[in-house]
Amino acid sequence: MTRIFISQDAASIALGAHRIARKVAEIAAQRNIALDIVRTGSRGLFWLEPLVEVETPEGRSAYGPLQPDDVGRLFDAGFLTGGDHSLRIGRMEDVPYLARQQRLVFPRCGVVDPRSVSDYRAHGGFRGLERALACTAQEIVDTVKQSGLRGRGGAGFPTGIKWDTVLHAEADQKYIVCNADEGDSGTFADRMLMEGDPLVLIEGMVISALAVGATKGFIYIRSEYPHAFRTMNAAIDAATRAGYLGTSVMGSGRPFTLETRLGAGAYICGEETSLLESLEGKRGVVRAKPPLPAIEGLFGKPTVVNNVVSFASVPWILENGAKAYADYGMGRSRGTLPIQLAGNIKRGGLIETAFGVTLRELIEDFGGGTFTGRPVKAVQVGGPLGAYFPAHMLDLPMDYETFAAEKGLVGHGGIVVFDDSVDLSRQARFAFEFCAKESCGKCTPCRVGAVRGVEVMDRIIAGIEAEKNFEVLEDLCRLMTDASLCAMGGLTPVPVMSALTHFPDDFDRTGTLPAAAE
């Protein structure tokens, strides 16, 4: 029976994948053709979606982007045997956008049935876990340390050091918590992975549990991701049935169970201590650190809290060795980063590549410029707390230290492109507005500062007492940076100040340039 692959990634569905799948099934039934339609995740080349891939002896042959009306014509063109058609792409692996990537975390995404353990295993899954089971806890931790892996959630803290702390903390119970509260605009790597290859996340979490001696794990998924939540639950059930989770992981006698929890629409719960409060059933209010979650985390026990991509990077590292991973990247940013190219971009999608790739390569070579065809004016990297950079800074390489030196952040690897219609004073105002809406309210600099920020920006935009208000703005930003309890208030000044520094003309309502621009 011919196998056909159609993504059910949320973005693919949003672009019409369900309609295409229904149409394919309907026409196949009319023509008495037996088809096995496999619903996969997405490969992340969204401008080619909705997309179908057909299994042929020469590999999978792709067709897209499709409208429902195209499907009948595909059947007429003999697409089930790779027949020619104006929408025929050929092998996805040969599309330069994908061929130029280094997919260590995402090789199976869009290829396998995300709910199938056997599919996962057939595509190289669980080899890292097998290796981990043959190692001591310290050996696993050391491998992760030597790989140079840093937290992919945004903070970039070395994963191995965090694990080492939890390993050496004495406790009757330890936890593994996955932060899947991917709230940054312009990011979707976690969502794609949970929808397209959830078993790699499970495998990474099991390895982490073995490394630190934890027996219970939670995946905290934001409620804006209902599809990811369902797929993740199905994958946990499948992994449990197959003995990769439960009382004895792969017959090792080591227990590890995993549960998902749904967030409830609070951006702040992506901050790890707020997430832990939320998991405990409380308001998602940030905790003061110390104590670190690695010492006193969930329910007061030592806890590993890592992002989806951090955990999902670990199986490859265990399978191929720390050095193989560390061979990718630049400076102290080792390995690969799944970059998400988003916003006003012609070819948006997921680009997993070694650190060091420049914004220009990403936006121009991969992305093909703006969707609207107008010039790029600004890019925001790293979510709502990331800096806005102007078009003349696109040669910056993706690297934690380079971005920090330019007063920006790599964050979770999201890039939002804006064309020349954007007004950066509005974006600066929005940064405060968002912070005011999403602040947990615990510390004053964030709770009050964000509201004051909106007021000051309103006066600046209205051209009222510009010089005085710029002074207030800078003072406010300094205060929020220095005195906020967590990154929400502490980094909100980053988009604001970068907008002011790089786009002073957008703030100049009265003809007097702000001090920061001089």
């Binding site: 312009g186 967030g263 405990e280 916003g343």
Partner: protein, 158 residues
Amino acid sequence: MAENPQWDSARAREIVSAHAGRDGAALPILHALQDEFGFISEEAIPMVASALNLSRAEVHGIVTFYHDFRSKPAGRHVLKLCRAEACQSMGCATLSEEFLRREGLQWGETTQDGALTVEAVYCLGLCACAPAAHYDGEPVARLNHAILEALAREARQA
């Protein structure tokens, strides 16, 4: 979207006790109540407080902290329009303002016929095909006026 049943204390109590034994049970309970009834009644607060050995003030604090939980039912259909940066770069601000004006709504309000509630959301992870929305939980991408009009019509029909 299926019509939610009326608030039913006995059923609510069953839901609360079904989840009360879970680790950090508050969010799972509140989600389950809202899934069942479409909102979280004031009556649920003492119920949850007693099941989890919390004060009513604490439960009220939890319910009101999270944007998802509603204290009164939404319309028959819910449209969540993304207002975050990636969607802004593709013109979501103008698009949603015009849509709200045509429908005579502010953010979070429901049309007078009870057909459609329009809410703001900040990122749905559909940022490579912005502007984006969820309509009754199903993702919609590359929004424009025509698509929004069609969704509003669809909401009124069913």
